[in-house]
């Protein structure tokens, strides 16, 4: 392969991207060298195994990916704004919708979710870290390197263009030769292994690392949502790994799992990928449900209504989600009996979800509600998710689905549940736990601007798309002609939708501004309990010390911190004298990062079918695992005196 194929050429936007990548890289290198920050970067961040720092890195990466996916969305909306538009070439349009979907689900929603897992769960259950801190760092770096591998495809080698789930036979060599499709496979494969490891890590953390007095049925609901999402990860991510491996075997070794000839079966891929893909959307929404449960209870100053039914419904969702995958292709022709089973299972999911919404509303009933930023996002979530869920039930009706299938009605539906459910939930969680991790609140006024623009932008963008779906506009349509545009009325609706997309783009600017502004001017949180919270994470300073809890807390039932605070307010309350003990902590290690670099080499090599390079990368991965196995000196002790000094400095004594 010569260089003229290696670098993507011929598109002014790509040249612009090339230039900006080079400039940003140079700026970062200059900054780090000039301020002598390389050692700091290595010691404090790259080699860290601290769940709080890993959470922050996940968050940062997901916000960057939100930006990239958002730019893709705006480019698509510009292309569709008017009929017969040639703003983007058609191949470029295909690449952009593929990239947008892949990035938003796998490289934005997943890391944002893992950011919340890492930032909150150990603090909420009274633990000093996750069960496997080094594995946690491995998960992060695998995600990061996978995302980078996927993202460089648009300047090197060319992007994937077969849709975000890359159905064969289109994604096979015959129709998608070249490295683009391989970038998609390896980017997701590498980060998917990281996700699987995170699932295992958090299951063990939640089952085994809770402070000894916290019983499972008194655990905060966010941690329950993480447990149920992790169980779902455990059940379906291996299927993704296997399916991508099969597609790799087809493309790299000339296999016939999913080809049109030699007995391959493309529909098998579609079944496999949705066996992962459908539970995947529940995986991302369950933690959002957990966030709402925390927020509603805190800001209504009430215990959550129907705790057990909340737990039961989350577990029900994660189990039933395994039996809904075929609703993505009712039109496959599996027959009425098969379709009915999947249609009914899909509709059944609406029941536990409905239970949860009612529980939140009953929690608010007669509560003393404070309307804060996190609460605003919850308010927005309820109607948005309700409509999104209702259109989902419409789509789940198999006979009717033949009409909606792959139309803009579907596009509007899943954006409504994913934005209304997942994005709103994660943003609510971000605003809620931001002071815990960073020690200051995000500015209210800028946040409200962003919030209202999000709401208006969202409805302006997606409501017209429901109508467009009914009018016959199909997804992935590159452009439409004058007759469709003006006589059939597609153009005005598309134009309005584009305006909405821009409004949402402006929100992102407001939110970035909000973060930068608040670093300097945000309200400082000196108490560690920024919102008058109910769960254990609010009982420690913000930001928490490296060991989180100087003394493992005692949990007395649900909302333990809330009741402890009331006890502390009573007359005659005496603080018990504390004696500190040495704390056992894991040491930082460079192995996760080095292993991820080898994964990158492997992924890059196999992408260009340079098998020698791919094999070198895999040997490197095995070598780092081997080296780690020989490391025995992996943890250290923080002495009791150090703990005491730290606590004193934080004003806790």
């Amino acid at each position: 392969m010569n260089t003229s194929h290696f670098f993507v050429t011929g598109d002014p936007m790509i040249y612009g991207a090339d230039a900006s990548i080079v400039l940003v890289t140079l700026a970062i290198v200059f900054y780090l060298s000039y301020f002598k920050k390389w050692g700091w970067l290595w010691r404090e961040w790259i080699t860290t195994v601290d769940h709080k720092k890993i959470g922050i890195m996940y968050l940062l990466a997901s916000l960057i990916m939100l930006f990239r996916g958002g730019v893709d969305a705006i480019l698509m909306r510009l292309q569709l704004a008017i009929p017969n538009n040639h703003f983007l070439p058609s191949e470029h349009y295909n690449e952009i919708f593929t990239t947008h979907g892949t990035i938003m689900i796998l490289f934005m929603a997943m890391p944002f979710m893992f950011a919340l897992f890492n930032m909150v769960v150990p603090l909420q259950i009274g633990a000093r870290d996750v069960a496997f801190p080094m594995l946690n760092a491995v998960s992060f770096w695998l995600f990061f390197i996978g995302a980078m591998l996927f993202n460089i495809s648009f300047v090197i080698g060319g992007s994937a263009d077969a849709g975000w789930l890359s159905y064969p036979p289109l994604s096979e060599n015959q129709f998608s030769p070249g490295p683009g499709q391989n970038f998609w496979i390896w980017g997701i494969q590498i980060s998917g292994i990281g996700s699987l490891a995170t699932g295992i890590n958090f299951i063990v953390t939640i089952l085994k690392m809770r402070t000894p007095s916290m019983r499972l049925r008194e655990m905060p609901l966010f941690s329950w949502s993480v447990l149920s999402a992790s169980i779902a990860i455990l059940g379906v991510f291996p299927i993704l790994t296997g399916t991508l491996l099969m597609l790799t075997i087809d493309r790299l070794l000339g296999g016939h799992f999913f080809t049109m000839d030699a007995g391959g079966n493309p529909m098998m891929y579609v079944n496999f990928i949705w066996m992962w893909g459908h539970p995947e959307v529940y995986i991302v929404v369950l933690p959002a449900f957990g966030v709402y449960s925390e927020i509603v209870a805190t800001f209504s100053r009430k215990r959550i209504f129907g705790y057990s039914s909340m737990v039961f419904s989350m577990i029900a969702i994660s189990v039933v989600s395994y039996y809904t995958w075929a609703h993505h292709f009712f039109t496959m022709g599996a027959g009425a009996d098969v379709n009915i089973v999947f249609a009914v299972c899909t509709m059944i999911i609406a029941i536990p979800t409905g239970v949860k919404v009612f529980n939140w509303l009953f929690t608010m009933f007669r509560g003393r509600i404070r309307v804060t930023q996190p609460m605003l996002w919850f308010y927005a979530f309820v109607p948005t998710f309700l409509v999104g869920g209702a259109t989902g039930v419409m789509l789940a009706a198999a006979p009717a689905d033949y009409q909606y299938h792959n139309s803009y009605f579907l596009i509007a539906h899943f954006h409504q549940v994913l934005i209304g459910g997942v994005v709103f939930g994660y943003l609510a969680g971000l605003y809620y736990w931001w002071p815990k991790l960073f020690g200051f609140k995000l500015n209210d006024r800028l946040g409200k601007w962003a919030f209202w623009l999000w709401q208006i932008g969202f409805y302006v963008c997606f409501m017209p798309q429901y109508a467009l779906g009914f009018m016959g506009m199909t997804r992935r349509m590159y452009t439409y002609n004058q007759t469709m545009g003006w006589d059939m009325g597609w153009a005005p609706l598309n134009f309005i939708s584009t305006i909405g997309a821009f409004l949402m783009g402006i929100c992102f600017i407001f939110q970035a501004w909000q973060i930068i502004y608040s670093i300097k001017h945000g309200e400082r949180d000196v108490t560690g309990d920024a919102w008058d919270g109910r769960t254990l994470e609010w009982s420690i300073p913000s930001p928490p010390p490296v060991y989180n809890f100087a003394i493992l807390p005692t949990a007395k039932g649900r909302d333990t911190w809330w009741y402890q605070k009331q006890e502390m307010k009573q007359d005659g309350y005496k603080k018990e004298p504390v004696t500190f003990e040495a704390i056992h902590m894991p040491k930082n290690t460079g192995i996760p990062f080095i292993m991820a670099i080898f994964w990158f080499i492997a992924g890059f090599g196999f992408t260009f079918q340079w098998n020698w390079m791919g094999i070198i990368g895999l040997i490197g991965v095995a070598g780092t695992l081997f080296a780690r196995s020989f490391q025995y000196d992996t943890d250290y002790w923080i002495t009791a005196e150090e703990v005491e000094q730290t606590e004193k400095a934080l004003g806790r004594l």
């Binding site: 069960a131 295992i200 455990l234 291996p238 296997g242 491996l245 070794l253 296999g255 196995s629 020989f630």
Partner: protein, 204 residues
Amino acid sequence: MQQSVSAKFSDHDHHDHGHVDQGGLKVLGFWIFLVTDCLLFATFFAAFAVLRTHTNGGFTGKEFDVPGFVIETFILLISSFTSGLAVLALNRGNKKALIGWLIVTVLLGATFVGLEIHEFSSMAAEGATITKSAFLTSFFSLVGLHGLHVTFGIFWMTGLILQLFKKGITSVTKRKISIISLYWHFLDAVWIFIFTVVYLMGVM
């Protein structure tokens, strides 16, 4: 038996002052990992089940080399038995016997992989390669995936043998041996399914 072994080890790693039992966590984590690995194999089994009749007019399951796969099976089963003997030696605290049985297990595993490579290459020599039919693609992928797992296990076990030479039997090496023996038995269990679904149902 494995469960009781792992439960026993967790006591050794236990620290006081409310500290979490790291060894026990790792064993539990590994059990959960095995669930995911099991599902990975299940995906390949499912693909094989769909594609096993899609032979494209070429090599079929009837042509498998019966003595070949029977010998492979026995060797792997024996290696599972010897890894069990290694764990028994570990429980007795007999380092020499432990290392000896682990070396036997590694050698048997290597023989298994060698026989599998021989089987694959003789099939390829007859023209039955991965590119010929969907049946062969799914066959080579499923059996090859298992073979790669065994190969990985061989390197892993070799690393642990070196550590045993250096460190002897400690609570850490005990936990590591109990984990790899879980892995090894798991691969054996997967092979039983491959033996049944792929080979026996193939030649029937």
